[in-house]
Subunit: 247 residues, 2 copies
Protein backbone atom coordinates (compact mmCIF):
# COMPACT_ATOMS: atom_id res chain seq x y z
CA UNK A 1 0.00 0.00 0.00
CA UNK A 2 1.14 3.52 -0.75
CA UNK A 3 1.50 5.52 2.47
CA UNK A 4 1.78 9.27 2.80
CA UNK A 5 5.31 8.94 4.15
CA UNK A 6 6.35 6.91 1.10
CA UNK A 7 4.96 9.59 -1.23
CA UNK A 8 6.87 12.18 0.75
CA UNK A 9 10.08 10.15 0.57
CA UNK A 10 9.84 9.68 -3.21
CA UNK A 11 9.08 13.37 -3.75
CA UNK A 12 12.00 14.39 -1.52
CA UNK A 13 14.39 12.52 -3.84
CA UNK A 14 13.97 15.28 -6.40
CA UNK A 15 16.44 17.19 -4.20
CA UNK A 16 20.12 16.32 -4.22
CA UNK A 17 20.36 16.82 -0.45
CA UNK A 18 17.79 14.13 0.22
CA UNK A 19 19.21 11.78 -2.39
CA UNK A 20 22.55 12.04 -0.62
CA UNK A 21 21.08 11.51 2.84
CA UNK A 22 19.05 8.49 1.76
CA UNK A 23 21.47 7.12 -0.88
CA UNK A 24 18.44 6.72 -3.12
CA UNK A 25 17.31 8.05 -6.48
CA UNK A 26 14.26 7.79 -8.76
CA UNK A 27 13.98 6.55 -12.35
CA UNK A 28 10.73 6.77 -14.31
CA UNK A 29 9.05 5.52 -17.45
CA UNK A 30 8.91 2.18 -19.23
CA UNK A 31 12.05 2.56 -21.34
CA UNK A 32 14.27 3.76 -18.50
CA UNK A 33 12.91 1.33 -15.91
CA UNK A 34 13.39 -1.59 -18.30
CA UNK A 35 17.06 -0.55 -18.64
CA UNK A 36 17.39 -0.29 -14.86
CA UNK A 37 15.86 -3.74 -14.33
CA UNK A 38 18.28 -5.21 -16.88
CA UNK A 39 21.29 -3.56 -15.16
CA UNK A 40 23.19 -4.14 -11.91
CA UNK A 41 21.45 -1.21 -10.22
CA UNK A 42 19.71 -2.29 -7.01
CA UNK A 43 16.02 -1.39 -7.03
CA UNK A 44 14.51 -0.83 -3.60
CA UNK A 45 10.87 -0.27 -4.54
CA UNK A 46 8.95 -0.41 -7.80
CA UNK A 47 5.70 1.53 -8.18
CA UNK A 48 3.54 0.57 -11.15
CA UNK A 49 0.03 0.48 -12.48
CA UNK A 50 -1.59 -2.95 -12.33
CA UNK A 51 -1.52 -3.08 -16.14
CA UNK A 52 2.25 -2.55 -16.28
CA UNK A 53 2.80 -5.21 -13.63
CA UNK A 54 0.61 -7.69 -15.49
CA UNK A 55 2.68 -7.28 -18.63
CA UNK A 56 6.13 -7.00 -17.07
CA UNK A 57 6.11 -9.09 -13.89
CA UNK A 58 8.55 -11.50 -15.53
CA UNK A 59 11.26 -8.81 -15.63
CA UNK A 60 10.92 -7.85 -11.96
CA UNK A 61 13.14 -9.82 -9.59
CA UNK A 62 11.30 -11.45 -6.68
CA UNK A 63 13.29 -9.53 -4.08
CA UNK A 64 12.02 -6.13 -5.32
CA UNK A 65 9.18 -4.64 -3.31
CA UNK A 66 6.31 -3.81 -5.71
CA UNK A 67 3.54 -1.34 -4.94
CA UNK A 68 0.52 -1.07 -7.23
CA UNK A 69 -0.59 2.54 -7.70
CA UNK A 70 -3.29 4.22 -9.73
CA UNK A 71 -2.79 7.14 -12.09
CA UNK A 72 -3.56 9.75 -9.46
CA UNK A 73 -1.01 8.31 -7.05
CA UNK A 74 1.59 8.04 -9.82
CA UNK A 75 1.09 11.73 -10.50
CA UNK A 76 2.03 12.42 -6.89
CA UNK A 77 5.20 10.33 -7.12
CA UNK A 78 6.36 11.47 -10.54
CA UNK A 79 8.49 14.49 -11.47
CA UNK A 80 7.36 14.25 -15.11
CA UNK A 81 4.67 16.40 -16.73
CA UNK A 82 2.72 13.27 -17.68
CA UNK A 83 2.96 10.49 -15.09
CA UNK A 84 4.47 7.19 -16.30
CA UNK A 85 3.23 3.61 -15.91
CA UNK A 86 6.19 2.67 -13.73
CA UNK A 87 8.68 4.33 -11.40
CA UNK A 88 11.52 2.83 -9.35
CA UNK A 89 13.43 3.98 -6.29
CA UNK A 90 17.01 2.72 -6.56
CA UNK A 91 20.11 2.60 -4.39
CA UNK A 92 22.98 4.97 -5.12
CA UNK A 93 26.21 3.02 -5.06
CA UNK A 94 29.54 4.71 -4.60
CA UNK A 95 31.50 4.66 -7.87
CA UNK A 96 35.24 4.27 -7.34
CA UNK A 97 37.64 6.32 -9.44
CA UNK A 98 38.88 4.12 -12.29
CA UNK A 99 42.55 3.07 -12.07
CA UNK A 100 42.88 1.50 -15.49
CA UNK A 101 41.66 3.96 -18.07
CA UNK A 102 42.01 2.10 -21.36
CA UNK A 103 39.86 3.59 -24.11
CA UNK A 104 38.37 7.04 -23.85
CA UNK A 105 37.42 8.93 -20.73
CA UNK A 106 35.14 11.96 -20.93
CA UNK A 107 36.00 14.78 -18.54
CA UNK A 108 33.11 17.16 -17.81
CA UNK A 109 34.21 20.50 -16.43
CA UNK A 110 31.25 22.20 -14.73
CA UNK A 111 28.47 20.95 -16.99
CA UNK A 112 25.55 22.51 -15.15
CA UNK A 113 22.47 21.96 -17.27
CA UNK A 114 20.93 18.59 -16.36
CA UNK A 115 19.60 18.16 -19.92
CA UNK A 116 23.11 18.58 -21.31
CA UNK A 117 24.54 16.18 -18.72
CA UNK A 118 21.97 13.50 -19.59
CA UNK A 119 22.48 14.01 -23.32
CA UNK A 120 26.26 13.67 -22.92
CA UNK A 121 25.80 10.39 -21.00
CA UNK A 122 23.63 9.12 -23.88
CA UNK A 123 26.29 10.19 -26.42
CA UNK A 124 29.03 8.45 -24.41
CA UNK A 125 26.95 5.27 -24.31
CA UNK A 126 26.29 5.42 -28.07
CA UNK A 127 30.04 5.54 -28.73
CA UNK A 128 30.84 2.83 -26.18
CA UNK A 129 32.53 5.25 -23.77
CA UNK A 130 31.85 3.85 -20.31
CA UNK A 131 33.70 6.33 -18.07
CA UNK A 132 32.88 9.96 -17.32
CA UNK A 133 34.75 12.05 -14.77
CA UNK A 134 32.86 15.16 -13.63
CA UNK A 135 34.07 18.17 -11.70
CA UNK A 136 32.39 18.35 -8.32
CA UNK A 137 30.27 21.34 -9.36
CA UNK A 138 28.74 19.53 -12.33
CA UNK A 139 25.06 18.51 -12.43
CA UNK A 140 24.20 15.46 -10.35
CA UNK A 141 23.78 12.28 -12.40
CA UNK A 142 20.82 11.30 -10.18
CA UNK A 143 18.93 14.54 -10.88
CA UNK A 144 15.62 13.40 -12.44
CA UNK A 145 16.26 15.56 -15.54
CA UNK A 146 19.66 13.93 -16.08
CA UNK A 147 18.17 10.44 -15.70
CA UNK A 148 15.43 11.39 -18.18
CA UNK A 149 17.71 12.94 -20.80
CA UNK A 150 20.15 10.02 -20.60
CA UNK A 151 17.31 7.68 -21.73
CA UNK A 152 18.65 4.80 -19.64
CA UNK A 153 22.28 5.24 -20.70
CA UNK A 154 23.27 6.09 -17.11
CA UNK A 155 22.94 2.35 -16.41
CA UNK A 156 25.93 1.62 -18.67
CA UNK A 157 28.23 4.59 -18.02
CA UNK A 158 30.14 5.03 -14.74
CA UNK A 159 30.22 8.64 -13.51
CA UNK A 160 32.66 9.84 -10.83
CA UNK A 161 32.85 13.28 -9.26
CA UNK A 162 36.34 14.50 -8.43
CA UNK A 163 38.90 17.24 -9.10
CA UNK A 164 39.58 16.93 -12.82
CA UNK A 165 43.08 18.43 -12.55
CA UNK A 166 44.12 15.74 -10.06
CA UNK A 167 42.68 13.03 -12.28
CA UNK A 168 44.56 14.27 -15.35
CA UNK A 169 47.82 14.54 -13.40
CA UNK A 170 47.43 10.99 -12.11
CA UNK A 171 47.30 9.73 -15.71
CA UNK A 172 49.92 12.01 -17.20
CA UNK A 173 50.80 9.65 -20.06
CA UNK A 174 47.34 9.88 -21.61
CA UNK A 175 46.69 12.67 -24.16
CA UNK A 176 44.02 15.21 -23.21
CA UNK A 177 41.94 16.66 -26.08
CA UNK A 178 40.14 19.92 -25.36
CA UNK A 179 38.32 22.33 -27.66
CA UNK A 180 40.00 25.74 -27.89
CA UNK A 181 39.70 28.57 -30.41
CA UNK A 182 43.29 28.19 -31.56
CA UNK A 183 43.17 24.37 -31.55
CA UNK A 184 43.93 22.12 -34.52
CA UNK A 185 40.96 21.42 -36.81
CA UNK A 186 39.20 18.19 -35.86
CA UNK A 187 39.18 17.38 -39.57
CA UNK A 188 42.99 17.14 -39.56
CA UNK A 189 43.32 15.20 -36.31
CA UNK A 190 43.35 11.48 -35.61
CA UNK A 191 42.45 10.93 -31.96
CA UNK A 192 44.36 8.27 -30.01
CA UNK A 193 42.38 5.18 -28.94
CA UNK A 194 43.40 5.80 -25.30
CA UNK A 195 42.68 9.42 -24.47
CA UNK A 196 40.72 11.90 -22.42
CA UNK A 197 38.22 14.33 -23.95
CA UNK A 198 37.67 17.47 -21.90
CA UNK A 199 34.33 19.31 -22.28
CA UNK A 200 33.96 22.80 -20.82
CA UNK A 201 31.11 24.66 -19.15
CA UNK A 202 28.10 25.86 -21.19
CA UNK A 203 28.85 29.56 -20.82
CA UNK A 204 32.48 29.84 -19.79
CA UNK A 205 34.19 26.97 -21.60
CA UNK A 206 37.11 25.12 -20.06
CA UNK A 207 38.30 26.34 -16.62
CA UNK A 208 41.50 28.37 -16.54
CA UNK A 209 43.26 25.89 -14.28
CA UNK A 210 42.61 23.04 -16.75
CA UNK A 211 43.77 24.75 -19.93
CA UNK A 212 47.50 24.07 -19.31
CA UNK A 213 46.65 20.40 -18.87
CA UNK A 214 45.30 20.05 -22.42
CA UNK A 215 47.99 18.24 -24.40
CA UNK A 216 46.14 18.39 -27.74
CA UNK A 217 44.06 21.53 -28.34
CA UNK A 218 41.46 20.93 -31.04
CA UNK A 219 38.66 22.93 -32.64
CA UNK A 220 35.45 22.27 -34.51
CA UNK A 221 35.79 24.34 -37.71
CA UNK A 222 33.12 27.00 -38.00
CA UNK A 223 31.62 28.07 -41.34
CA UNK A 224 28.75 30.35 -40.29
CA UNK A 225 27.65 33.00 -37.83
CA UNK A 226 26.95 31.19 -34.55
CA UNK A 227 29.34 32.18 -31.79
CA UNK A 228 29.53 28.74 -30.24
CA UNK A 229 27.97 25.30 -30.09
CA UNK A 230 26.03 23.83 -27.18
CA UNK A 231 28.30 21.77 -24.86
CA UNK A 232 26.53 18.48 -25.62
CA UNK A 233 26.77 19.14 -29.37
CA UNK A 234 30.50 19.81 -29.09
CA UNK A 235 30.91 16.63 -27.02
CA UNK A 236 29.07 14.63 -29.70
CA UNK A 237 31.22 15.91 -32.54
CA UNK A 238 34.46 15.24 -30.68
CA UNK A 239 33.33 11.75 -29.63
CA UNK A 240 32.29 11.06 -33.22
CA UNK A 241 35.73 12.12 -34.41
CA UNK A 242 37.31 9.78 -31.86
CA UNK A 243 35.09 6.95 -33.16
CA UNK A 244 36.14 7.77 -36.76
CA UNK A 245 39.80 7.69 -35.72
CA UNK A 246 39.65 4.29 -34.07
CA UNK A 247 37.19 2.53 -36.36
CA UNK B 1 5.15 54.02 -19.96
CA UNK B 2 4.30 50.38 -19.49
CA UNK B 3 0.54 49.85 -19.54
CA UNK B 4 -1.39 46.82 -18.36
CA UNK B 5 -2.57 46.13 -21.89
CA UNK B 6 1.04 46.12 -23.15
CA UNK B 7 2.03 43.63 -20.46
CA UNK B 8 -0.91 41.47 -21.47
CA UNK B 9 0.04 41.66 -25.15
CA UNK B 10 3.66 40.66 -24.50
CA UNK B 11 2.59 37.78 -22.27
CA UNK B 12 0.07 36.59 -24.86
CA UNK B 13 2.91 36.16 -27.38
CA UNK B 14 4.05 33.08 -25.49
CA UNK B 15 1.19 31.33 -27.32
CA UNK B 16 1.47 30.45 -30.98
CA UNK B 17 -2.14 31.40 -31.62
CA UNK B 18 -1.55 34.99 -30.47
CA UNK B 19 1.80 35.25 -32.26
CA UNK B 20 -0.01 34.30 -35.46
CA UNK B 21 -2.88 36.73 -34.90
CA UNK B 22 -0.55 39.62 -34.12
CA UNK B 23 2.35 38.66 -36.41
CA UNK B 24 4.63 39.42 -33.48
CA UNK B 25 7.13 37.47 -31.37
CA UNK B 26 9.36 38.10 -28.36
CA UNK B 27 13.14 37.80 -28.00
CA UNK B 28 14.90 38.26 -24.66
CA UNK B 29 18.32 38.74 -23.14
CA UNK B 30 21.37 40.80 -24.04
CA UNK B 31 23.03 38.31 -26.39
CA UNK B 32 19.90 37.49 -28.37
CA UNK B 33 18.62 41.09 -28.54
CA UNK B 34 22.01 42.31 -29.75
CA UNK B 35 21.80 39.76 -32.59
CA UNK B 36 18.24 40.90 -33.39
CA UNK B 37 19.30 44.57 -33.48
CA UNK B 38 22.16 43.71 -35.84
CA UNK B 39 19.83 41.76 -38.17
CA UNK B 40 17.10 42.71 -40.63
CA UNK B 41 14.36 41.74 -38.18
CA UNK B 42 11.96 44.65 -37.56
CA UNK B 43 11.69 45.51 -33.87
CA UNK B 44 8.38 47.05 -32.84
CA UNK B 45 9.07 47.78 -29.18
CA UNK B 46 12.13 47.43 -26.97
CA UNK B 47 11.74 47.09 -23.20
CA UNK B 48 14.89 47.62 -21.15
CA UNK B 49 16.21 48.67 -17.79
CA UNK B 50 17.59 52.21 -17.73
CA UNK B 51 21.08 50.78 -17.21
CA UNK B 52 20.89 48.68 -20.38
CA UNK B 53 19.60 51.65 -22.37
CA UNK B 54 22.40 53.87 -21.10
CA UNK B 55 25.03 51.40 -22.28
CA UNK B 56 23.40 50.30 -25.54
CA UNK B 57 21.42 53.28 -26.88
CA UNK B 58 23.87 53.55 -29.76
CA UNK B 59 22.74 50.16 -31.12
CA UNK B 60 19.03 50.98 -31.04
CA UNK B 61 17.66 52.55 -34.21
CA UNK B 62 15.77 55.83 -33.69
CA UNK B 63 12.56 54.42 -35.13
CA UNK B 64 12.27 51.74 -32.42
CA UNK B 65 9.87 52.55 -29.58
CA UNK B 66 11.77 52.15 -26.28
CA UNK B 67 10.08 51.63 -22.92
CA UNK B 68 12.11 51.79 -19.71
CA UNK B 69 11.03 49.16 -17.20
CA UNK B 70 12.21 48.15 -13.76
CA UNK B 71 13.08 44.63 -12.66
CA UNK B 72 9.61 43.88 -11.36
CA UNK B 73 7.99 44.91 -14.62
CA UNK B 74 10.54 42.93 -16.63
CA UNK B 75 9.59 39.88 -14.60
CA UNK B 76 6.01 40.33 -15.76
CA UNK B 77 7.03 40.58 -19.41
CA UNK B 78 9.61 37.79 -19.44
CA UNK B 79 9.10 34.05 -20.03
CA UNK B 80 12.53 33.30 -18.53
CA UNK B 81 13.14 32.06 -14.97
CA UNK B 82 15.36 35.07 -14.30
CA UNK B 83 14.23 38.28 -16.04
CA UNK B 84 16.70 39.81 -18.52
CA UNK B 85 17.90 43.40 -18.89
CA UNK B 86 16.26 43.74 -22.28
CA UNK B 87 13.37 42.26 -24.26
CA UNK B 88 12.07 43.07 -27.74
CA UNK B 89 8.78 42.54 -29.52
CA UNK B 90 9.48 41.90 -33.20
CA UNK B 91 7.50 41.53 -36.40
CA UNK B 92 7.06 38.09 -37.94
CA UNK B 93 7.76 38.29 -41.64
CA UNK B 94 6.53 35.67 -44.06
CA UNK B 95 9.47 33.59 -45.32
CA UNK B 96 9.04 32.51 -48.94
CA UNK B 97 10.01 28.99 -49.94
CA UNK B 98 13.50 29.12 -51.49
CA UNK B 99 13.66 28.50 -55.24
CA UNK B 100 17.41 28.27 -55.63
CA UNK B 101 18.72 25.78 -53.11
CA UNK B 102 22.46 25.83 -53.63
CA UNK B 103 24.38 24.46 -50.66
CA UNK B 104 22.72 22.39 -47.98
CA UNK B 105 19.11 22.51 -46.86
CA UNK B 106 18.06 20.93 -43.58
CA UNK B 107 14.66 19.22 -43.64
CA UNK B 108 13.08 18.80 -40.18
CA UNK B 109 10.38 16.17 -40.10
CA UNK B 110 8.17 16.72 -37.01
CA UNK B 111 10.83 18.04 -34.63
CA UNK B 112 8.57 18.76 -31.68
CA UNK B 113 10.81 19.68 -28.76
CA UNK B 114 11.46 23.45 -28.85
CA UNK B 115 14.89 22.94 -27.25
CA UNK B 116 15.88 20.54 -30.03
CA UNK B 117 14.53 22.91 -32.68
CA UNK B 118 16.53 25.84 -31.28
CA UNK B 119 19.67 23.73 -30.95
CA UNK B 120 19.35 22.55 -34.56
CA UNK B 121 19.03 26.17 -35.75
CA UNK B 122 22.23 26.99 -33.84
CA UNK B 123 24.00 23.98 -35.39
CA UNK B 124 22.87 25.02 -38.90
CA UNK B 125 24.17 28.53 -38.29
CA UNK B 126 27.54 27.20 -37.04
CA UNK B 127 27.98 25.24 -40.25
CA UNK B 128 26.81 28.10 -42.46
CA UNK B 129 23.55 26.38 -43.42
CA UNK B 130 21.04 29.18 -43.93
CA UNK B 131 17.92 27.25 -44.97
CA UNK B 132 15.70 24.96 -42.91
CA UNK B 133 12.45 23.46 -44.21
CA UNK B 134 10.15 22.19 -41.42
CA UNK B 135 7.09 20.00 -41.66
CA UNK B 136 4.00 21.90 -40.61
CA UNK B 137 3.71 19.97 -37.33
CA UNK B 138 7.22 20.94 -36.19
CA UNK B 139 7.83 23.30 -33.25
CA UNK B 140 7.28 26.97 -34.03
CA UNK B 141 10.51 28.92 -34.57
CA UNK B 142 8.99 31.86 -32.64
CA UNK B 143 8.28 29.76 -29.53
CA UNK B 144 10.28 31.49 -26.74
CA UNK B 145 12.12 28.24 -25.97
CA UNK B 146 13.22 27.89 -29.59
CA UNK B 147 14.41 31.51 -29.69
CA UNK B 148 16.32 30.93 -26.44
CA UNK B 149 17.97 27.65 -27.46
CA UNK B 150 18.97 29.06 -30.85
CA UNK B 151 21.06 31.72 -29.06
CA UNK B 152 20.38 34.31 -31.74
CA UNK B 153 21.05 31.99 -34.67
CA UNK B 154 17.41 32.30 -35.81
CA UNK B 155 18.37 35.75 -37.11
CA UNK B 156 20.66 34.17 -39.73
CA UNK B 157 18.74 31.03 -40.72
CA UNK B 158 15.53 31.17 -42.81
CA UNK B 159 12.88 28.67 -41.66
CA UNK B 160 9.90 27.71 -43.81
CA UNK B 161 7.01 25.46 -42.89
CA UNK B 162 5.63 23.30 -45.68
CA UNK B 163 5.00 19.72 -46.79
CA UNK B 164 8.49 18.20 -46.94
CA UNK B 165 7.52 15.60 -49.54
CA UNK B 166 6.39 18.32 -51.96
CA UNK B 167 9.59 20.26 -51.37
CA UNK B 168 11.79 17.23 -52.09
CA UNK B 169 9.83 16.38 -55.24
CA UNK B 170 10.18 19.94 -56.50
CA UNK B 171 13.98 19.60 -56.29
CA UNK B 172 14.28 16.03 -57.52
CA UNK B 173 17.86 16.44 -58.79
CA UNK B 174 19.25 17.14 -55.31
CA UNK B 175 20.38 14.14 -53.21
CA UNK B 176 18.51 13.59 -49.94
CA UNK B 177 20.54 12.16 -47.03
CA UNK B 178 18.55 10.57 -44.22
CA UNK B 179 19.66 8.46 -41.26
CA UNK B 180 18.36 4.90 -41.39
CA UNK B 181 19.44 1.72 -39.59
CA UNK B 182 20.55 0.03 -42.81
CA UNK B 183 22.17 3.19 -44.20
CA UNK B 184 25.80 3.53 -45.29
CA UNK B 185 28.25 4.46 -42.53
CA UNK B 186 28.80 8.21 -42.37
CA UNK B 187 32.52 7.41 -42.07
CA UNK B 188 32.51 6.00 -45.62
CA UNK B 189 30.41 8.72 -47.22
CA UNK B 190 31.34 12.00 -48.82
CA UNK B 191 28.30 14.28 -48.82
CA UNK B 192 27.62 16.41 -51.91
CA UNK B 193 28.02 20.18 -51.51
CA UNK B 194 24.42 20.69 -52.78
CA UNK B 195 22.16 18.36 -50.83
CA UNK B 196 19.28 18.01 -48.40
CA UNK B 197 19.70 16.49 -44.94
CA UNK B 198 16.51 14.98 -43.52
CA UNK B 199 16.17 14.76 -39.72
CA UNK B 200 13.37 12.66 -38.24
CA UNK B 201 11.13 13.03 -35.21
CA UNK B 202 12.54 12.55 -31.68
CA UNK B 203 10.62 9.35 -30.94
CA UNK B 204 9.47 7.97 -34.27
CA UNK B 205 12.29 8.86 -36.66
CA UNK B 206 11.61 9.74 -40.30
CA UNK B 207 7.95 9.59 -41.43
CA UNK B 208 6.93 6.59 -43.54
CA UNK B 209 5.91 8.77 -46.47
CA UNK B 210 9.36 10.39 -46.63
CA UNK B 211 11.47 7.22 -46.47
CA UNK B 212 11.10 6.43 -50.22
CA UNK B 213 12.31 9.97 -50.98
CA UNK B 214 15.70 9.40 -49.31
CA UNK B 215 18.19 8.96 -52.14
CA UNK B 216 21.20 8.30 -49.88
CA UNK B 217 20.45 6.40 -46.66
CA UNK B 218 23.22 6.93 -44.12
CA UNK B 219 23.87 5.86 -40.53
CA UNK B 220 25.93 7.03 -37.59
CA UNK B 221 27.92 3.96 -36.56
CA UNK B 222 27.12 2.81 -33.03
CA UNK B 223 29.72 1.24 -30.71
CA UNK B 224 27.86 1.05 -27.40
CA UNK B 225 24.54 0.33 -25.75
CA UNK B 226 22.38 3.41 -26.36
CA UNK B 227 19.41 2.65 -28.59
CA UNK B 228 19.46 6.00 -30.36
CA UNK B 229 20.83 9.52 -30.35
CA UNK B 230 18.87 12.71 -29.65
CA UNK B 231 17.60 14.32 -32.88
CA UNK B 232 19.74 17.46 -32.45
CA UNK B 233 22.84 15.34 -31.81
CA UNK B 234 22.21 13.30 -34.96
CA UNK B 235 21.69 16.53 -36.92
CA UNK B 236 25.00 17.88 -35.61
CA UNK B 237 26.97 14.80 -36.59
CA UNK B 238 25.49 14.69 -40.09
CA UNK B 239 26.07 18.44 -40.62
CA UNK B 240 29.63 18.02 -39.37
CA UNK B 241 30.16 15.20 -41.87
CA UNK B 242 28.81 17.44 -44.63
CA UNK B 243 31.26 20.17 -43.55
CA UNK B 244 34.14 17.64 -43.59
CA UNK B 245 33.14 16.56 -47.09
CA UNK B 246 33.09 20.04 -48.57
CA UNK B 247 36.00 21.62 -46.68
Amino acid sequence: MLTKSTIKLVQSLQDKKHRKEQSLFVAEGEKIVSEVLASKIKVKTLFATSLWLQNNAINVHKTIECIVVDEKQMKQLSAQPSPPQVLVVCMIEQVELPLNIKGTTLLLDTIQDPGNMGTIIRIADWYGITRIICSENSADVYNPKVIQASMGSFTRVALCYTRISDFIKRHAAIPVYGAMLQGKSLYDVSLKPDCMILIGNEGNGISKELIPLITNPICIPKRGGAESLNAAIAAAIICDTWARSVS
